[in-house]
């Protein structure tokens, strides 16, 4: 029984990481109806930047927040330079551009930092903590805590600030937003900046566990996509719930289904995607789209 709880908690921790990246994907999807396939690679670059800062002597949390700030700027810059020219192009064009961006960033990472695997420091101690006779990893609990804090901060931003409202409005109804004076184009850039921040958190939380290398986020991207689809591609709440659920599902199927074990996690994520898209395409919390004929 204690193994069950351990698996659930550790599943929630990895789920929190998926949720952060999934939130980033949902943010951009809501604003542009396109999936940003470069989200993972952007997170990788952010994580390497954090690594460099720590490597040069900066304390962890200082590097963490500085990286978030730099990631925000990077995200805004990418949107302005690469995405803005294709803002009104068909969705598949945007997708291909993000794929190109992903390839570029992946290459850039290995040129700038090399492809040897690196250790990434964790802000949380690796000792276990005992609750009710069951051992949990502080690392896992810490990651869950950071994810919760992130979601709460983001939620507050959207609900209570003028800018957050403008961002929501621009995504829901760009035409009407322009009429009230919202600079819709800049809202898009803001969205990309925030998504970059979310991705950076995701990367910095997973790096201590899987070690840092240029291809680190490729599989995480697939898990995040599965989480977003599960929750509903246009629902931020869905992204969080989907992420946590997926993390737990992966851990439990891995632990209790011998055939799957630790080696078929990716196909399980793919199966989740297929199942959701074929049975209930709008996911758990998404809005069903009406196809205009």
């Amino acid at each position: 029984m204690s193994q069950f709880f351990q698996q659930v908690v550790s599943g929630l921790a990895s789920g929190g990481i998926f949720a952060s990246l999934a939130l980033a994907l949902v943010l951009i999807y809501r604003a542009t109806r396109a999936i940003n396939f470069a989200q993972g690679e952007m997170a990788t670059v952010s994580t390497f930047v954090a690594w460099s800062l720590v490597h040069h002597g900066m304390p962890f949390w200082g590097a963490f927040f500085l990286t978030l700030a730099l990631s925000f700027i990077g995200g805004v810059a990418l949107e302005r330079v690469v995405i803005r020219p294709v803002e009104n192009a068909p969705v598949l064009t945007v997708v291909i551009v993000t794929l190109g961006l992903a390839v570029l960033l992946n290459g850039f990472t290995s040129v700038e930092w090399g492809s040897e695997v690196k250790k990434f420091p964790s802000p949380f101690p690796t000792r276990p903590i005992h609750v009710g006779g069951v051992a949990f990893s502080i690392q896992d609990l810490g990651v869950i805590g950071v994810s919760i804090a992130l979601v709460v901060a983001l939620g507050a931003f959207f609900r209570f600030t003028k800018l957050g409202l403008a961002l929501r409005a621009a995504a829901l109804n760009p035409e009407a937003s322009r009429l009230v004076g919202v600079r819709v184009s800049w809202m898009l850039a803001l969205g990309w900046g925030l998504a970059a921040v979310l991705g950076a958190v995701s990367g910095m939380m997973i790096a201590p566990v899987v070690f840092l290398d240029p291809n680190m986020m490729q599989t995480v991207l697939l898990y995040a996509l599965a989480a977003a689809i599960l929750g509903g591609m246009d629902s931020p709440v869905g992204a969080v719930v989907g992420g946590l659920a997926l993390g737990v599902i992966l851990n439990l199927t891995g632990a209790y289904v011998n055939f799957i074990g630790g080696t078929l996690r990716l196909p399980v994520a793919l199966a989740v995607i297929l199942l959701v898209l074929l049975v209930r395409p709008s996911g758990l919390f998404g809005r069903a789209a009406v196809r205009k004929v």
């Binding site: 396939f37 291909i96 390839v103 599989t219 080696t263």
Partner: protein
């Protein structure tokens, strides 16, 4: 009429160059050009899917893997001659593509891209899991097997003795040519028009009496069969397969090649064969010469990057995709097609 003449002439010229090239190039270069041929096949196949039926696939590397592994398993475990494995690989991959095409009908553009991306990412795990069949992480070695035509050294064809690399060159390009002409025959006229109508609007096409379901799944099957052949030829060329022969990046690479080549070029027009040539060449030669290219750039712009780093081709690759999509979304093929249209219109007017 003038345009048709252009296109035929162009095709003949390209065929001539391809046929005669090995005489002028080194043995190693012939091997590289054979790889170009492999990618041409994959790219043309992807164009059938995306350009003709408007469905996007980010997972064609998986179909290449299916073809490649079919070849390898048949050769290594069942003693089949390498040449005979090629049509079998095409069939297996084609059926897989067709079967995948059925649920794919329910997925629209973006979500189809997502699912195929998922396939590309998770396929290597499946290959490793079923190690009994696939040789797992270690893969299957084909070098020196008696099933290899020419035993990896030299081949006698029509009274000539070809080096192994030249043999591979002629093999891949002959197959590429046959497949291209086959696709052209299949897709000109009725079928091609039906598919293109589908690409533009499945609703409109359906109301015009086209069965979207049948044609779309067929397109997937054909496209996958092409990829299967490409994978099979790849396996034969490198005489080895393991999960890293068909990594995630392969699917992206092929897509990038198709984008540069120009998606949507009507088969038969100049763009439809020169485009894939350009795309495939970019893939193969960028990989090989990226470091030289970077050194050349560094003469003008000081970037303190290590030219030998493995990421350099990727950076340039990514840049090329972005630039092409921003500036020439119709790709090399599109530019060439527009050019030949304009020139032939001009010539037609002169004749009158």
């Amino acid at each position: 009429m003038v345009r048709r003449a252009f296109e035929l002439a162009g095709f003949v010229v390209v065929v001539a160059i391809v046929a005669l090239a090995p005489r002028w190039v080194s043995d190693f270069r012939a091997f590289q050009l054979a790889s170009v041929g492999v990618y041409v096949i994959a790219i043309v196949g992807l164009n059938v899917l995306t350009g003709y039926s408007g469905q996007i696939s980010l997972g064609h590397g998986a179909f290449m893997a299916i073809g490649g592994y079919t070849t390898a398993i048949l050769m290594a475990k069942h003693g089949v001659q390498d040449l005979w494995t090629i049509p079998i690989a095409a069939l297996v991959a084609g059926v897989a593509g067709f079967l995948f095409g059925i649920p794919a009908l329910r997925l629209s553009g973006l979500y189809l891209a997502l699912v195929t991306f998922g396939i590309a990412v998770s396929f290597p795990s499946l290959l490793k899991k079923f190690a009994g069949l696939t040789g797992g992480g270690r893969g299957l070695n084909l070098f020196g097997l008696p099933q290899e035509t020419g035993g990896g050294v030299s081949v006698h064809v029509l009274g000539h003795e070809l080096t192994n690399n030249d043999w591979l060159y002629y093999l891949t390009w002959t197959v590429a040519g046959v497949l291209f002409v086959g696709a052209w025959l299949l897709l000109r006229g009725e079928t091609g028009r039906a598919l293109r109508a589908l690409r533009d609007s499945s609703v409109a096409a359906a109301s015009a009496g086209v069965w979207p379901a049948l044609y779309k799944t067929l397109a997937f099957g054909i496209s996958a069969a092409f990829a299967g052949v490409a994978g099979s030829l790849l396996a034969i060329s490198v005489a080895f397969v393991n999960p890293d022969t068909f990594p995630i990046s392969l699917s992206i690479t092929v897509l990038v090649g198709a984008v540069v080549a120009g998606i949507g070029s009507v088969l038969g027009r100049v763009g439809s064969y020169v485009g894939p040539l350009a795309g495939a060449s970019l893939i193969v030669f960028l990989q090989a010469y990226a470091s030289d290219f970077l050194r050349w750039i560094e003469k003008g712009i000081p970037l303190h990057a290590d030219p030998k780093a493995p990421g350099v081709p990727a950076v340039i690759f990514g840049l090329v995709v972005i630039v092409v999509m921003l500036l020439f979304p119709a790709g090399v093929g599109g530019v060439l097609d527009a050019l030949t249209s304009r020139v032939s219109r001009g010539l037609t007017r002169l004749r009158v």
